[in-house]
């Protein structure tokens, strides 16, 4: 079977896209964090498979970083924040699930069409990863746009970054230094956002970002 490496990469990247959709569908915070952890596990499996195919040992390190930080530390820290803020039972959707899903499918179709056209002639493995990576990035953006809860916006941001790592792993030749610095900047962003969440909550008694609009006087 000559197809197997490609099929397996397709399976992993495809499940990453599927998990992104699941995140959009999920409206409970604790379940959302579980899906996010699964998303990171799928990402690290995908990157490890790329490392195996490209014979690039430094990608194994990337996979390990993704597994450690994204699948364990960040979800655990976020769920502790959610517990401490006492919003773990909260259900929130700004736009209904169905329109969001439809928008997500539109974005997925758009990114696949775009990437297929842009990367014509490139290595099939890279093409596929790029197409799916753009989908994951756009779905992360969609999630940040459609949610009002600051915690789920953070999760959207993190899943967007997962898409970026998938793209970087697919395109050969991303230096390890860049990789590590991206990982650390994400961690720092996470810490800043974590502090920020508590500040927002102290000030407004809620992490609903709609409250910020009211302070700015944009809403009656």
């Amino acid at each position: 079977m000559t197809h197997l490496p490609l099929d397996f990469a397709h399976l992993l990247a495809g499940s990453l896209v599927l998990l992104s959709f699941l995140m959009i569908y999920q409206d409970r915070l604790s379940a959302l964090l579980d899906v996010f952890a699964a998303h990171a596990v799928a990402l690290s499996a995908s990157v490890a498979w790329q490392a195996h195919l490209q014979q690039a040992p430094h990608l194994y390190l990337t996979a390990l970083i993704a597994l450690l930080f994204k699948a364990l530390i960040i979800p655990m820290a976020l769920s502790r924040i959610v517990q401490r803020l006492r919003i773990h039972r909260e259900v929130e959707t700004v736009v209904g699930t169905a329109p969001t899903m439809l928008a997500g499918i539109g974005l997925a179709a758009l990114s696949i069409l775009l990437m297929m056209r842009l990367t014509a002639g490139a290595d099939p493995l890279a093409r596929e990863d790029l197409a799916f990576a753009l989908t994951v990035v756009l779905l992360g953006l969609l999630m940040m746009v459609t949610r009002r809860n600051a915690v789920s916006q953070v999760v959207g941001f993190m899943s967007l970054e997962n898409g970026l790592i998938l793209a970087a792993a697919g395109a050969k030749g991303m230096p390890l230094v860049v990789e590590i610095s991206v990982a650390f900047s994400i961690l720092i962003a996470f810490i800043v956002i974590g502090v920020f969440l508590f500040r927002i909550r102290e000030r407004f008694d809620t992490v609903d970002v709609g409250a910020l609009d009211e302070v700015r006087g944009e809403r009656g």
């Binding site: 079977m1 099929d7 397709h10 399976l11 599927l18 959709f21 169905a98 696949i112 596929e128």
Partner: protein, 318 residues
Amino acid sequence: MQLILPMLVQGAQMALVVLLAPLLTGLVRKLKARLTRRRGAPVTQPWRDILKLLQKEAVVADSASWLYRAAPYLIFAATWVAAALVPTFATHLQFSWTADLIAIVALLGSARFFLALAGMDVGTAFGGLGASREMMFATLAEPAMLLITFALALIAGSTQLSTIAAVMAGPAVGLRVSLGMALVALIIVALAENGRIPVDNPATHLELTMVHEAMVLEYSGRHLAMIELAASLKLLLYLSLIACVFVPWGLAAPGQGLAAHLAGLLAYLGKIAVGAVALALFETAIAKMRVFRVPDFLGIALMLGLLGTLLLFVSARL
């Protein structure tokens, strides 16, 4: 022999599905009863009910039109033809050239159309309520089913069931995430179409959220027997469809002898039994949804079908 064998196999299949369908319903009921520590009615009980109903007088409401009387037979005929098209134990059926997934969706769609019309025909509020809900679910379930069909057709290169089964049994399929998505989507569609538990409860007549039972509430006697038989056939059809597409091993191919056919039959019975156990376990473990949550549930099927098709599109263009 070239002509007779497919005819024979087709005839055997048509008899088999009708014979087996109420037994499957009985088996699922029995398993569910055992899982909740009840003894349950014997597996043959649905057959006995149908035979009893056939002997009874059919009471028809005064306001019913001819459609009300014709609908049960139309529903049964359409479902029976659809069930006879799905390869159960052998792929070389006489009507194999028409055994197209889209045709099956259309046949089931027309059966549903007549059922909804019959539900509204008498003019009771309950029938109309059931019919409108059935149609609400159908607007999501049918496109999802078509998307699953497209995903399968992209892999197999055909919408014909015997070709799909042959491709799926072969080594050319490989590892595909889209197939998993199509399977989950098909299971969700099957649960919704048959009114199984997360969507509708097949065991009650007294619940306000019921759908299928509300439409057939006015029927009695032989009409009710036809509708019950059609409902059982539909369940068997979906199980056979899942078995035929996703576990096509053991299907007898053209040109094989009697032994292969018997082995195919045994394999089919085994697959159906496994499906019945899985369905009973799932239904016992899960609670019924609110009606207005069902579109979300079916939306998952629609989304999975669309996503599977998109992913296949990517790998086809590589």
